[in-house]
Symmetry: C2
Subunit: 597 residues, 2 copies
């Protein structure tokens, strides 16, 4: 049945709402698709709900087509499974927790790995039952610190999450690739450009992970790509590691007085004055900067870590956060920041501006309180044989020609510094360039982390119990609606791709003549008869200007205006996206629209 | 695409699960339709989800057909609107409350009157926008004290809730009746017998209310009906009020010594001994029993109320709970129980076993602490001129011939006693009989309670602001699935009505021959080609007994078995409900099934 604007529960707004930041948010509010119920929590009005359901239907069709089976979990879940995997703790403030009348702990699920794992454990017991992919399209909850940009980052939102279960790694790989293919088809059908980028697994754990980023200037995710086809989340970019250097003939390190050189800039200037180099002046890249970091662990503890990086590269805290997990005893999301004065004071041997590698770990040099061994990690460019100007751990002194692997060692390497445009892609496909995007989907080859924790084992071909290997795959359905709006609008309003538009045709009756409304109603009926969904603006006393304005704002792909041309037997058919309008004989209008699709 | 049992995410259970109480719960678990995630919180497996979606679709179609428009609200809502209407408090322990990371209060909505009211206030401003009916099919949350019977009373469940908005009472009446009609069509299409019964509005407030009860022996709701068509929730049954009696010639009341008569039974015996009556012996119906009740208010306070009822009728606490609201200063759900010894002690004048009307309110008789005026309510049968034997408020004494309206007064009447089979229906349609049922839907003519509280006013025809009048209408979608299972099963399993069955045909390949599987696969394809949904049991190594057992358990309306008969060119088609099986030539099987529908 056509949506008639005389009765449709809709009110369009002329002005941008004050609390809306980005275009999609403004337009979805103005066009009456959504309303805000609380920060990051939205109500879907009739038109918005139609778009949402169309996105869901495309997702569902492709998931079904790849053989995944739909189930539906509660959003309100008991604490226990999340305690077993430690995520009850690891999520920190990021989830909503509550208690029932008996004082039992519950959460509003941010994602359902635990429950899916337990469900498969409940139902299945043999490798013959596998592979299995099951999914749901369901409300998720995250207590975002800064819900923003309307539907782009909400606190209650709809996600499609699926999970694959396989007996071995080859199976997981096949399930992962099947999801990857389905995702690419989904986004293509939605008309939403995405770039699959290598990502880090973060709190999810697992071996392999890709994000599907929709390029968007206001996107929160920075990623890099090469002309040769490499693309990665900045957190996931790996540095091209140089070869080790033979240091057998390297001169011995020399400690020099370098007063008043607490920064890399002042140090480089002093080095060029004190010990000029034949091959050309010292640069920041010749210095090794030792940065003291404070890591806030999910347990509430604060751990001090020192990182040695080339002096010409800024530290990237997000990259550190994404990569430091492997070096810590505790899993989960961590907060990383520069150590405070208080942190430094607690570890008395850490002399700001003159910190050196190795030495900083020497209990003899450190105050008694700080004599615990501190973790020392270096940038991957610090390979054996590289020679550095760096702090001597003595106020006012630096050491020159300190050779990695000869004069100092480290506990591990970490991707800790900024990725720059022009850096080489790790796969040799050329220099990297930066772009911004928003995460539309994320796929994880989880491996056995959850199955191990929750005891999901099945009998294998040899009758022995084997732990199942899993994948986890998500698409932000709510976010897809916002991203589609963000990438499909102009200054007049929304411009929906046909696949998700709330209707196919927006019929406007322009003028007051009875014959105009009769003709418009008849065309509406004919279009519906032909299988098209129609919005019909049948409001009797609304001006043509307002009607056309609303039609542009609502963003249905085709606008059919019945007005003055009717006396000449024509109606106007306008393509919302191109703005091109043509007069078409009334009798041919339906066929014309069908042909354009 | 057919659901193939070789890959369907399903495991049937031979034994009843230990924690399942009622048949629908046992069978939905055994047949792999649902699994329990927490008390009163369930996961839908593929087959269950299909049934659920079919129920939803029928509800949606009928709501759309009556012109209601679908929207979708969040489940996580801010406290403030519910504080304005006082329901934040009134719900007591019955809702889930939580806080976000900033300490702001939220609830998981049990129902959405407040939000719908505010949304209409946001969008609409004129009577021209009305009438409006909007609805959603959405997750609801109630922290039930005793979640029971599987899906019949859950803590997370799906409800269709709709709300009507009208400018005047006639409009509300029309919207109410339109919903009533739609509900009857929905239940008819679902194949779910319902009886609309008059109900009390309870915590919802409002003037008129009906429940749609599905008759069911295990139902929690007792209702009564007459052969003449009257039906009401027991809480809502009204007493046929006798006419007033002229008391001008009634003899004066006499106080008599009645030691050791603390019960109605002992009192009646004593009365017949002390003052035998010419018209026949005194009975319990001649005595007035004064019952002291303690009301636990939503505010946490405890209020004492005294109720005078004929001595032959037991007090019905549920009826009191449903009806006492009008007499209290505070709204919301209340708990009613007999006053404890401590309560009585606090009000020293209340002498157990000898309590009388009126006197009990006399501050001079009561102890100082209890000299506040206590509310005194009577059963509707206590009309002016009726004469009673009742307590004298003196230990060991009763008063005979105490005349209502002459010797004592009351603050109001209340439906406080049991309804008995044989009582007259209030509409004169004959004696009442009792039945049990479960509430499948509930409709309320709310009136202006919520619009008043939240300021929903629109301009009326005269350009003046008028408060909108509302209705609220709910259907338990999850519960409908359970009720359908409860009322459609036999000792072998589920027997779904066609409209909601997870598939139309269950094809079973019986035996091991390749030709059997080929024929079964071909029939599956042909049935699908004909527009039918098919479950195909293609499991290669499962015995015929297990396959037939599963088919009966799953409950699809038609079972098509391809087996030994194939050599003779026939397959067996069995009606799951009637158990009737016929052999049909393979080539005619599809048409035969289509004809049976």
């Amino acid at each position: 049945m056509a949506l008639r604007l005389s009765t449709l529960f809709l009110r369009t707004l002329r002005e941008d709402p004050v609390d809306a930041e980005v275009d999609s948010h403004k337009l979805l509010l103005r066009a009456g698709y959504i309303r805000r119920a609380a920060p990051g929590i939205y109500t879907w009005l009739p038109l918005g709900l139609r778009v949402l359901r169309k996105v869901e239907a495309i997702v569902r069709e492709e998931m079904d087509a790849m053989g995944a089976q739909e189930v539906h979990f509660p959003a309100l879940l008991p604490k226990e499974p999340y305690e077993i995997t430690n995520r009850w703790l690891e999520y920190g403030d990021g989830i909503f927790r509550l208690q029932d009348r008996k004082g039992a702990d519950y959460l509003l699920a941010p994602t359902h790995e635990e429950m899916f794992t337990l469900l498969v454990k409940d139902l299945y017991s043999s490798y013959k039952d596998l592979p299995l992919s099951i999914y749901q399209i369901q409300n998720k909850y995250r207590d975002e610190a800064r819900p923003r940009a309307g539907l782009l980052r909400g606190r209650e939102f709809i996600m499609k999450d699926s999970y694959s279960f396989d007996i071995d790694d080859a199976g997981l790989d096949a399930s992962y690739m099947a999801h990857r293919g389905a995702y690419l088809r989904i986004f293509e059908r939605l008309g939403l450009e995405v770039i699959p980028v290598a990502a880090t697994a973060g709190a999810m754990g697992g071996s392999k992970s890709e994000e599907f980023l929709h390029p968007m200037a206001i996107g929160e995710d920075t990623f890099v790509r090469s002309a040769g086809g490499y693309a990665a989340n900045v957190e996931a970019v790996t540095t091209v590691v140089p070869d080790d250097i033979d240091f057998s003939n390297a001169p011995a390190a020399v400690v020099r007085d370098t007063p008043d050189t607490p920064t890399i800039e002042t140090l480089v200037a002093a080095a060029n004055e004190l010990a000029p180099r034949a091959e050309g002046p010292w640069t920041a890249a010749d210095t090794l900067k030792n940065v003291v970091l404070a890591i806030d662990l999910p347990t509430g503890e604060r751990q001090i870590v020192i990182i040695g990086v080339p002096g010409d590269r800024a530290v990237d805290f997000k990259r550190i956060e994404a990569n430091i997990g492997a070096h810590l005893s505790v899993g989960g999301e961590v907060g990383v920041e520069a150590a405070s004065e208080a942190d430094l004071k607690k570890h008395g041997g850490l002399i700001k501006g003159y910190m050196g590698p190795g030495l900083s770990l020497d209990a003899a040099v450190l105050g008694a309180e700080a004599s615990t061994k501190l973790l020392y990690l270096v940038d991957p460019r610090v390979v054996s044989g590289t020679s550095w100007i760096t702090g001597a751990n003595i106020d006012g002194k630096h050491v020159f020609g300190l050779v990695a692997g000869r004069d100092f060692t480290w506990d591990g390497t970490i991707e800790a510094v900024e990725v720059r445009e022009g850096d080489p892609a790790p796969d040799g496909s050329g220099p990297l360039e930066a772009a911004r995007g928003i995460e539309m989907g994320h796929i994880f080859a989880l491996g056995r982390k959850y199955a191990d924790a929750l005891g999901l084992k099945v009998l294998d071909r040899n009758g022995k119990l084997a732990t199942v290997t899993m994948g986890s795959y998500g698409i932000g359905v709510t976010r897809a609606v916002a991203a589609l709006a963000e990438s499909n609008h102009d200054d007049k309003g929304l411009v929906w791709p046909a696949a998700v538009a709330p209707a196919h045709v927006h019929v406007v009756a322009v003028g007051r003549g009875e014959e105009i409304f009769e003709a418009a109603a008849q065309l509406t009926a004919d279009l519906e008869e032909a299988g098209l969904e129609v919005i019909y603006d049948d409001r009797p006393k609304v001006s043509p200007g307002v009607k056309f304005g609303d039609a542009e704002l609502l963003g249905v792909p085709t606008i059919l205006a019945v007005g003055r041309g009717l006396v000449d037997g024509v109606v106007e058919i306008k393509n919302r996206a191109t703005g091109v309008a043509v007069d078409v004989p009334v009798a041919e209008a339906v066929q014309y629209i069908l042909d354009q699709r």
